[in-house]
């Protein structure tokens, strides 16, 4: 119980900070420090919770449920109960630490970065509110509360992205993030409604129990799974709703680090991990494909971007695609592991870029940078570590998590025949290494391009470099495992166990034996009796496949990563191949990528234009057809209406006016009785007694 209470404290600490800053921010000197301190306290609590839970006590799931609404009293209604609460299982405990860690580091970093901002206090208040919402998502043990916090995260991210709302692009980006997220949330909400109407509970445990008991199955279950995943698509910026994330870079850079690396976008992945047991084979396949598609698409775009934050934004989308892909292919622990490691190195990358931008006086285009390596050694070296990590080079955390996802994808491809997924996955390895080192080389190596800004550039203050160092050290393997080549031996992989699926056997992904792979993928093929065995065996086969693919996969990904780095050095450092020429030779592809696969234009042409056209059509319809009918009818009814108009005027209006006036008059009459003379009052009270007596003489 104590851990749960501590978790509640963790949840409400940032909220209290928010309240404090919103109401009394102007009264408190250095309210920013207060808020930062609060977050560090929350971090300490979270660490304590995680260590207690995972390493010392080895507790199971802690749950604190309370009855929110209990309407049993209304007769004629069967009654209605709704339980809510919080729960801490292993992934929650880890997520608590991740969220509070990144959040507190971002708070710290912002002390330097946002120092001169006009709405400094408000910025910290929003940070607190955001952390509160995010922790709420993590702690909820039910889908309803999760949805509420989900929306709160949406709101707070809207506020943070649009922090500099004087800039039109910033306020637009805030709006865009909000609206695109709503699209996914609608799906999420419908999914919740499906679950709730068929299972009458919102608790995850209750939902899984209900599904295991067969109260929700078949296409409806698939639909529910995919609709809930829609929420994740929106929040985790998956294809095709990824368009908001790059624009959201208009927000302050620490916000980007917080929202777009570790917390908000990870919420989608967390959601999928949370509802994982209720996802059936079809839903998982959809998820795997979406993930692979996203990873690839975003990586290709990242190659061409020149804004340092945009590159990182697309890189984020790509990595999120990896996580979703991992979950989709069944590499549950690996997907979650990647969420954790990515949180550290991507937050580091964003903060590093923030450090660079700060040094360059808010210059974001990398073509104007260069040569910063010597000016900003700490930023540079941490940046290198982050890049190695994201590229999946051994001795880094990224290698561990990414490698296991790819292994899973390969095994999945081999088992199910969906080869496209591992192919895309490995392709992205190359692309990632390439664009990351392109970024490093262009920014930090070579000659300075903007001498004036270069002259003034210097290493950032300690409040900004300390978070970088902390994050860089967390991007090394040592925090996760002692064997840098064996992801399986890391404690996260051990503690985050893939939950048992509760989906009816016919709908689940059973890899009983290689010959039945294709049929097992289709819902109707297997009979129920064989499922009991296949359920136990499936793990074995999947693990066998994993085992087989392990070394091959590792080798392949390493090779690709080194190739990517090499290519980056060849093109941008040694300049063996002229980048410009390369661009010219693949101009159509390059433009296509530079324009981000024309997604914004596509949405502009379809959704936006469609809406406009639809409304125009409606207007035309209204103007021509409806009006025609109305005009025709009008002539006919004019006579009648004159009559009814008279009726209206004299009778209906009269009645309405009368009743209004009557009520008024009644009030005025009753008011006249209130003469102010106490004895009149007493006479009326006496009259009341006498009237009541005679009126109720019969009793």
């Amino acid at each position: 119980m104590t851990l749960l209470h501590l978790a509640i404290a963790v949840l409400f600490l940032p909220l209290s900070g928010f309240t404090l800053l919103i109401f009394f921010g102007k009264k408190i000197r250095r309210s920013d420090l207060v808020e930062t301190a609060i977050l560090f306290v929350a971090l300490a609590f979270s660490l304590y919770i995680m260590i207690e839970k995972l390493f010392i006590l080895h507790l199971g799931t802690l749950d604190l449920t309370f009855r929110w609404i209990d309407i049993g009293a209304l007769v004629g209604h069967p009654g209605f109960v709704l339980d809510l609460g919080i729960a801490i299982d292993n992934i929650t405990a880890i997520m608590l630490v991740v969220v509070t860690l990144i959040s507190s580091l971002v708070h710290l970093f912002s002390l330097g970065y946002m120092h001169d901002d006009i709405r400094y206090t408000r910025y910290y208040a929003y940070l607190g509110f955001f952390s509160f919402s995010m922790l709420g998502i993590v702690l909820s043990n039910n889908i309803l509360m999760m949805y509420v916090f989900w929306e709160l995260v949406g709101i707070s991210s809207y506020l943070l992205i649009g922090h500099w709302f004087e800039k039109k692009s910033a306020s637009d980006a805030g709006k865009k993030a909000f609206i695109v997220n709503r699209v996914g949330d609608v799906g999420f909400f419908i999914g919740i409604m499906i679950v709730f109407t068929s299972l009458h509970t919102v608790l995850f445990s209750g939902i899984f129990k209900g599904i295991a008991a067969g109260q929700l199955s078949g296409p409806l279950l698939t639909a529910a799974g995919i609709l809930i995943f829609c929420g994740a698509v929106g929040k985790s910026a998956q294809f095709p709703l990824h368009v908001w994330l790059p624009d959201a870079m208009e927000g302050p850079t620490p916000v980007s680090a917080l929202i777009h690396a570790a917390t908000m976008v990870a919420a989608g992945v967390y959601l999928v991990a949370r509802v994982y047991p209720m996802l059936d084979a079809d839903a998982l396949t959809v998820i795997a494909y979406i993930g692979a598609m996203t990873a690839f698409l975003a990586a290709t775009i990242a190659i061409t971007q020149n804004d340092i934050k945009k590159v990182l934004a697309y890189s984020t989308i790509s990595q999120l695609g990896y996580m979703i892909l991992g979950l989709g292919v069944g590499a549950y622990s690996a997907g979650f592991f990647h969420l954790v490691t990515h949180a550290a190195f991507k937050a580091g990358l964003f903060l590093g870029s923030g450090s660079v931008i700060y040094a360059m006086h808010h210059e974001q285009d990398m073509r104007n940078m260069g040569g910063l390596r010597k000016k900003m050694p700490i930023t540079y070296w941490t940046f290198v570590i982050f890049s190695l990590s994201i590229s999946g080079i051994p001795l880094t955390s990224g290698f561990l998590s990414k490698d296991s996802i790819l292994g899973g994808a390969l095994a999945y491809g081999m088992l199910s025949g969906n080869y496209i997924i591992p192919v895309l996955g490995y392709g992205v390895v190359f692309l990632t290494a390439f664009y990351m080192f392109r970024l490093i080389i262009v920014t930090f190596h070579g000659e300075p391009r903007d001498l004036h800004k270069f002259e003034h550039a210097k290493e950032s203050p300690a409040v900004m470099t300390i978070p970088l160092i902390v994050l860089a050290s967390l991007s090394l393997f040592i925090f996760y495992t002692f064997n840098p080549f064996s992801p399986e031996s890391s404690w996260i992989m051990k503690d985050v166990v893939k939950p048992e699926s509760v989906v009816p056997a016919a709908q689940s992904r059973g890899w009983s034996k290689p010959a039945v792979i294709e049929t097992a993928m289709s819902p109707t093929a297997s009979s129920t009796s064989s499922q009991a065995q296949s359920g136990t065996k499936s793990v074995t086969y999947y693990e066998e496949a994993l085992e087989e693919s392990h070394y091959f996969g590792m080798g392949l990904s390493l090779t690709l990563a080194f190739l990517g780095i090499l290519a980056a050095f060849i093109i941008y450092h040694w300049k063996k191949i002229d980048a410009e020429k390369l661009k010219q030779s693949v101009k159509p592809v390059y433009t296509f990528l530079l324009n981000k696969w024309y997604f914004d234009e596509l949405y502009g042409a379809t959704v936006v234009a469609g809406t406009v056209r639809l409304s125009r059509m409606m207007a035309w319809f209204d103007g021509h057809i409806i009006d025609g009918i109305v005009n025709g009818a009008a002539t006919v009814t004019r006579g009648a209406s004159t009559l009814s108009g008279q009726f209206d005027h004299y009778v209906v209006d009269g009645l309405v006016n009368f009743s209004a006036r009557f009520t008024g008059l009644l009030g005025r009459g009753a008011r006249q009785v209130q003469t102010g003379k106490i004895q009149t009052y007493i006479v009326f009270a006496l009259l009341g007694v006498i009237i009541i007596f005679f009126a109720f003489r019969q009793f």
């Binding site: 004895q679 006479v683 006496l686 009259l687 007694v689 006498i690 007596f693």
Partner: protein, 168 residues
């Protein structure tokens, strides 16, 4: 007709007539003195009802306490003793009507009701049993009444007291 009846009617008439005097007298001091007679009459009725303790209390508290209080009030608030301003005649009509209706109804109901028992009991001492009751069964009302008196005392003092440091 026996002595008891005669005494009762005598005191009943005194009580009612003096009460009429209280209500109708134009002079406030006359009204106050009529009230004195009413209280005495009621005390006598209590004696007739063999409630000696109540009768004594009535005289002590009502006559000795409340009436004196009232007379003090009269003296403090009246420049002349006759402050009773002329009464609006029209307002007296509904008042008379309402009161008469009430009295009629009450008397009608009270006289037709079969009360649980109408045996007249022989005289018993009442002071001691009342004292015992006050200390046993009625100890809570007793305590409550003490708080109430304290509140009334405090309240009367702070409301009636002239403020020395009165502001302009």
């Amino acid at each position: 007709m026996n002595w008891y009846d005669i005494i009762f009617y005598a005191f009943a008439v005194i009580t009612v007539v003096s009460a009429v005097g209280v209500v109708f007298s134009r002079n406030i001091l006359y009204a106050a003195f009529s009230l004195l007679f009413t209280f005495f009459g009621i005390a006598a009725l209590y004696v007739l009802l063999t409630a000696d303790f109540i009768a004594v209390t009535q005289i002590l508290l009502y006559v000795g306490g409340i009436l004196v209080l009232i007379i003090f009030g009269v003296m403090l608030t009246s420049r002349a003793f006759n402050v009773e301003v002329k009464r609006g005649f029209l307002k007296r009509i509904p008042a008379v009507f309402v009161t008469a209706a009430l009295a009629g109804t009450l008397i009608g109901v009270l006289t037709t009701t079969r009360w649980p028992s109408v045996n007249f009991l022989p005289y018993e001492e009442t002071a001691r049993p009342i004292g015992v009751l006050l200390m046993t069964q009625f100890v809570l009302p007793f305590e409550l009444a003490s708080i109430l008196l304290l509140v009334a005392l405090v309240g009367a003092v702070i409301i009636a007291r002239r403020e020395k440091e009165k502001r302009a």
